[in-house]
């Protein structure tokens, strides 16, 4: 019987989800992460989940993996020491950057001067130059190139990056330099800018390619090590990793272009939400993934997540496609405080993290956190993780009292205030992916997951008018669900940079055909036959003179029919007006073209749970009291595993399961669907 294993490595826990592909039967496992070598937890978890399911590792046909190894290398500054080769005159390309000082007026007074991602002493210039059209102005001076690279050798670099001016038009010089570099540095990886990002803008291209170099050794080591250990276990199936854009990539290719995996972890949450979305038949979803220190949010429209042409990790933003996941520093561990000067209540971005943790965890934390506020309000019953983890209510109250005193309110009011602000921060992040992009959140459902997502989702959904609020099955391991259920996907982009009058339908047809071949071949190499591939095209379009493009889907048949360009113009005008409320009588410029190939793998079925009589009383654990909007209300605590499909659960209540807790507010009712997802709607 075929099995798939999804594995998500988080900061605290490594989550695993095993699926039997034909029946959809699943097994979950959560093991402590091993940050010094994350593969240990992966292997331990894999062994124990195989035991649970009573299978052997040889039965796993696909291993699908989302990882934060690259993310953490960037966040913790533990990337490789990277050399950079640039065109003469551009040594300080990363030092000067875009000259931007983030923040408002006078922000430069406190802004820490950042060190470039590739150190200046590891950056060398070579004598060569291409024009903006890609013509050779100055041929490569080979002797000078060699001596520059020899000099770089003294710096003991661990990875090398090549980024030359205008190479996005003509990669010839970069390829030549790479050849020389491989002679001089036979044992370190070389990343070439026009291969990683064939796009205009030298700084962004250099930075993105350097970022690739930065994480390449650590990722290559991690991935090859993991592969080796899995093979030792007897796992013969395909090993794939989740990219930041929600697609899959074979483990060998991932080692070469790890810049595409910087947001691999959060992407799993979005793809997990997509899978749940299919089972609930809800196509428009906002996701709310609440962890200990931060919250990730994303938007899914008509079953498609929003893609960005950038990836941001901490302060680093590179040009690699990623699911449009926004992160805010608001999570269960976010610390509440009241600055003396303004007397305002602030929550985060400082976090108590896993250590010392919230006060109620009894691990030494004393500062008031969002989790403590939940405990005070009764949203979190005394024990977590199925009873193995006790929460100290008195410690929570004591911590929240410091806020209550500073604001001169009751402890409950202070706790409610903290939750309100945390919700507002999450709401702010959700606005960035919805309203700021022209979407009305009232047209979307909201799905909360992660350890604390379902504690906040009802309240945030109420703020946004986003219904139903979905409490998915396995909210605590949804990222692993995403990893396990994702399809293989490849993308290929080309710069075009010409107005529509300077091209024709025939040229575009030809280009799309070429690009289709590239992505289809890529997928074929991953073992997906052509007849099992879906191809999509997209163009980045703008009015000539604008700096940012809007992505418009293309149908290649239209170009064969000679109507493609006209339709593209009309589609762009419509989209521009929707986003920005106006159109211009200016020529349209096609900035780039993209082809995407997606494997049409068999969809993973979801388990159907037993049907009940609509009454959830069989799942009541005990009566309970919750403090909501200024009053103490009678409530109940439910055991999620005992809920049946069709059950209608009235708010206010708390629903507990192994790895997550959900809250339903007053005047709301949760309905259990056939797969066990809970859909919360207002009762009115």
């Amino acid at each position: 019987m075929p099995y798939r294993l999804g594995v998500d490595v988080g900061g605290t826990f490594t989550d695993l989800l095993l699926i039997e592909e034909n029946t959809g039967e699943t097994w979950r496992n959560k093991v402590p992460s091993t940050p010094h070598d994350p593969s240990i937890a992966v292997i331990n978890g894999t062994k124990s989940i195989c035991e649970k399911a009573n299978i052997s590792a040889t039965d796993i046909q696909q291993f699908l993996h989302g990882t934060t190894v690259a993310t953490n290398a960037v966040l913790e500054g533990k990337g490789a020491k990277t050399g950079l080769v640039v065109t003469k005159g551009y040594r300080q390309i990363l030092q000067v950057a875009r000259s931007l000082v983030p923040g408002g007026l006078a922000a430069w007074i406190t802004w820490p001067k950042p060190a470039p991602l590739a150190a200046l002493e590891c950056t060398v210039e070579i004598d060569e130059r291409l024009s903006a059209d890609g013509d050779i102005i100055t041929p490569i001076n080979e002797q000078q190139t060699r001596s520059a690279l020899e000099r770089l050798k003294l710096e003991n670099i661990e990875a090398l990056t090549i980024c030359l001016m205008n190479s996005y038009v003509n990669g010839l010089h970069e390829i030549k330099v790479a050849e020389i570099a491989r002679e001089i540095f036979p044992n370190i990886p070389v990343s070439i800018s026009h291969e990683i990002l064939p796009e205009m803008q030298e700084y962004e291209r250099a930075l993105t390619t350097v970022a690739n170099s930065l994480v390449r050794p650590v990722m290559a080591k991690y991935i090859s090590n993991l592969r080796l250990k899995l093979r030792e276990l007897g796992m013969k199936g395909r090993i794939n990793l989740l990219r930041s854009d929600g697609g899959l990539i074979g483990s060998e290719k991932a080692e070469i272009t790890p810049v595409n995996l910087l947001m691999s972890g959060p992407a799993g949450g979005v793809t997990g939400a997509l899978w749940v979305a299919e089972n609930t038949n809800i196509k428009n979803i906002l996701t709310l993934d609440v962890g200990g220190t931060s919250t990730d949010v994303a938007l899914i429209e008509k079953g498609e997540p929003l893609l960005r042409r950038e990836t941001s990790v901490g302060h680093l933003t590179v040009r690699a496609s990623s699911l449009d996941v926004k992160t805010v520093g608001a999570g269960g561990g976010s610390i509440a405080h009241v600055p003396e000067l303004t007397g305002a209540l602030r929550v985060g971005p400082e976090s108590a993290g896993a250590v010392p943790g919230p006060a109620c965890y009894s691990k030494g934390g004393k500062l008031p956190t969002v989790t403590d506020a939940h405990v005070v309000l009764g949203n979190l019953p005394e024990s977590l993780l199925g009873g193995s983890f006790h929460l100290d209510q008195e410690a929570a109250k004591e911590a929240i009292k410091t806020i209550a005193d500073a604001l001169n309110v009751t402890i409950e009011e202070a706790a409610q205030g903290i939750i309100h602000i945390a919700n507002e921060n999450m709401y702010g992040a959700l606005r960035l992916v919805s309203v700021q992009q022209g979407y009305d959140p009232r047209d979307f459902a909201l799905m909360g997951f992660g350890g604390a997502g379902s504690l906040h989702s009802n309240a945030v959904g109420k703020l946004m008018g986003s219904y139903p609020v979905i409490v998915p099955v396995s909210p605590g391991v949804l990222c692993a669900v995403g990893d396990a259920t994702t399809q293989m996907r490849y993308e290929h982009a080309r710069s075009f940079n010409r107005t529509i009058s300077k091209t024709d339908n025939k040229e575009i047809t030809h280009l799309l055909h070429e690009m289709r071949e590239v992505v289809m071949t890529d997928l074929e190499e991953e073992g997906i036959p052509r007849e099992k591939q879906t191809i999509k095209f997209e163009a980045g379009v703008r009015y000539r003179g604008q700096g940012f493009e809007v992505d418009i889907p293309l149908n290649d048949q239209n170009f064969k029919d000679d109507t493609g360009l006209d339709i593209l113009k009309a589609d762009f005008d419509k989209e521009h007006n929707r986003l920005f409320t106006f159109n211009l009588d200016v020529e349209h410029e096609i900035v780039n073209l993209r082809a995407v190939a997606i494997a049409q793998g068999a969809k993973m079925p979801a388990i159907v749970i037993p049907k009940g009589d609509g009454n959830p009383d069989q799942a009541i654990l005990r009566k309970h009291t919750m403090w909501i909007e200024g009053q103490s209300l009678p409530a109940a605590i439910y055991d999620r595993s005992k809920l049946e499909s069709g059950d209608k659960i009235p708010g206010p209540c708390v629903i507990v399961e192994m790895d997550s807790t959900a809250v339903i507010l007053p005047d709301h009712i949760g309905t259990v669907d056939r797969c066990g997802n809970i859909l919360i709607n207002p009762t009115l």
């Binding site: 300080q92 007074i109 803008q201």
Partner: protein
């Protein structure tokens, strides 16, 4: 003369209680709205000046026009004072004449859009934004003639007019204006982009009113202003003394051969109020460097500097305005009489920030930054493309050294203006007939110090088409000063290298310089001043910076007393000797301006390649 606001609903708003948490939510929501304004603008605007470089400023104000979120303080107040007409639901105001809005914008290039926001017939808020247009007509491309003597030479002047009435675009008006400019396509797109941004803000404000209630929103904005006033009052009391302190700095020249011009400000506190008095500032210039300074804008600059220096956690708005009294003598460089030319006011505007930093630091010098990159130098390049026959026109803002700061080194080649970025050189090369052969920060140009001033930038343009260039720059004559023992930064310079090998030093402010294919321009901006004693800077760090090309070996020895060997190691013995020697002649005082005025004048030609400016005379 005041504006008349027409309301369809005269029910007064009720003052209601708003709890702290709701207040914070509304403040955050308004901040989000402002960020959406920026995002909309950058995604739709066309001119590189606005889009790539970010020369545009958003604002959301409460019903009386006081800024709740934004950057430069409220422009509404100046408009309301000077506009003599009706304000109705569905209006969009458009203006650019500084004299017609009390300096709400300060040169004709800045097009300002103001949108009053009504809800159920009552005025609840304002959204506004201005952006610098690449060209607004007039006698030179870019519309900022360095030799202008009146505002009539500086492109089209737009008094406050209704671009939309009842939300209907007055197309004739727009067409009339766009007919006057060299780049109508950019102007139209940028203007629409600004309007779209204001509409985004309006939508959000109406949503907030729906969510919390109109009375709640109005009361919340009042509380937010009061909250800021409280926090700022506390800061002012601690940071500003009752004894008078003053500082003066200079704009090097007026583009017509006269200079330098003095800007002077005296600061003291009377009770809870701080007074900023510009008495002693030179009279207005004949040329276009005058800066029509709006008092409220200065209050905002002052407020933001206060919080950035002393407590960056405070969220700024207009609430503290009553605590600041700004006095600017009429007829001075900072309050010129109509119709004085204004277009090149960027240098005086920038220098105000050096002035404010110095004043605020006088009481606590350890919190003070050195003089920074206090201007935004421009390069204009225009002509007719020989291949396509099309007109091209570039307006580009340059960057330089962030000064040494109490918190660390200044960044090299960065912007002191919020949100400004450079234009990618590959973009320049694709869309303009030029090649950028060097783009680097210039070693040793940052002032030496315990914390080094950021280096200025060397950008070399090779022109691939004939055309005409203009340059607007400053600090070529006076130095960006150092503080607390730090040295001044290097001055700016511009060198035109002709294809035939000849070299010309170009004036800091010039128009109409013809360039031809193959000519090269070295555009060198100035460095930031240093902070603290350079002899105490870690010698190993200096050696590393020599290796990195940020400091030369000669500069390390000369300015820091550190002998760096060819292998980038520190020669400890020579370093120690040199540092001991240098310590004997350390300059005294908080500020280090470099050579005095007389030396600057005497050595001008030999140091800069340019004649010293003639001291200005006034009848």
């Amino acid at each position: 003369m005041t504006a008349q606001i027409i309301l369809n609903n005269n029910t007064p708003f009720q003052q209601v209680d708003v709890d702290t948490i709701t207040l914070d939510i509304i403040e955050n929501a308004l901040r989000n709205a402002r960020e959406e304004m920026d995002a909309t603008l950058f995604r739709t605007a066309m001119s590189p000046g606005i889009r790539e470089q970010g020369d545009a400023f958003p604002l959301i104000a409460e019903r009386e026009g006081k800024m709740i979120v934004g950057q430069f303080g409220s422009f509404i107040d100046g408009f309301l004072k000077a506009y003599n007409g009706t304000i109705e639901e569905g209006d969009v105001f458009w203006l650019s004449d500084p004299y017609a809005c009390d300096g709400a914008v300060s040169h004709n290039n800045d097009w300002l859009i103001i949108r009053p926001i009504f809800k159920n017939g009552r005025l609840v808020s304002w959204a506004s934004m201005f952006g610098h247009q690449t060209d607004i007509g007039g006698k030179v491309p870019g519309s900022m003639p360095t030799d202008a003597t009146s505002v009539f030479e500086e492109g089209i002047r737009i008094p406050p007019v209704k671009l939309y009435k009842k939300d209907i675009l007055q197309e004739d008006l727009l067409n009339l204006v766009l007919h006057q400019v060299r780049m109508p396509e950019w102007c139209r797109a940028d203007l629409y982009a600004i309007i779209a941004s204001c509409r985004v803000a309006e939508k959000r404000i109406l949503e907030i009113c729906d969510r919390f209630g109109e009375n709640e929103y109005i009361s919340a904005t009042d509380y937010l202003l009061a909250r800021n006033k409280r926090a700022m009052g506390h800061l002012i009391n601690n940071a500003v003394g009752e004894e008078k302190v003053y500082f003066e700095d200079f704009v090097c020249d007026d583009g017509r051969g006269f200079g330098p011009y003095k800007l002077k400000c005296t600061m003291w506190r009377e009770g809870e109020k701080v007074i900023l008095d510009f008495n002693g500032t030179d009279p207005q210039a004949a040329g276009s460097i005058n800066f029509y300074l709006n008092e409220n804008m200065l209050k905002m600059f002052f407020g933001i500097y206060m919080i950035m220096v002393f407590d960056p956690q405070v969220l700024i708005n207009d609430g503290f305005y009553d605590l600041v009294d700004v006095r600017i003598p009429k007829g001075s460089l900072l309050k010129p009489n109509f119709p004085a030319a204004l277009s090149c006011r960027t240098h005086a505007l920038g220098r105000i920030f050096d002035l404010l930093g110095a004043l605020l630091g006088k009481k606590q010098p350890e919190f003070m930054c050195a003089a920074g990159f206090s201007s935004s130098p421009h390069l204009m390049f225009s002509g007719t493309d020989k291949k396509t026959g099309e007109w091209f026109q570039l307006f580009q803002i340059g960057f330089g050294g962030i000064p040494g700061r109490p918190f660390g080194d200044g960044a090299d080649g960065h912007s002191l203006w919020p949100g400004f970025t450079n234009v990618p050189n590959e973009f320049l090369e694709r869309y303009f007939p030029m090649r950028i052969t060097h783009y680097t920060s210039l070693a040793d140009s940052g002032g030496a110090g315990f914390y080094r001033g950021g280096n200025g930038i060397l950008m070399t343009y090779e022109f691939l088409n004939s055309g005409v260039i203009s340059i607007h720059d400053d600090r070529w004559y006076t130095h960006p000063w150092g503080v607390n023992g730090g040295e001044p930064g290097a001055r700016s310079r511009k060198i035109l290298r002709r294809k035939d090998g000849s070299k010309t030093v170009l004036p800091a402010k010039c128009d109409g310089v013809e360039v031809f294919t193959g000519d090269q321009l070295d555009y060198i901006t100035w460095g930031g001043g240093g902070w603290g004693n350079p002899l105490e800077r870690d010698s190993e760090l200096i050696a590393l910076e020599v290796k990195q090309g940020l400091v030369t070996a000669a500069g390390a020895f000369e300015n820091y007393g550190v002998k760096v060997e060819n292998d980038y190691s520190v020669n400890q013995k020579e370093t120690q000797m040199r540092r001991v020697e240098m310590a004997k002649n350390r300059p005294e005082g908080i500020f280090n301006f470099g050579p005095d005025m007389q030396s600057l004048r005497e050595n001008c030609l030999s140091d800069t390649g340019l004649e010293a400016p003639t001291p200005p005379r006034w009848s």
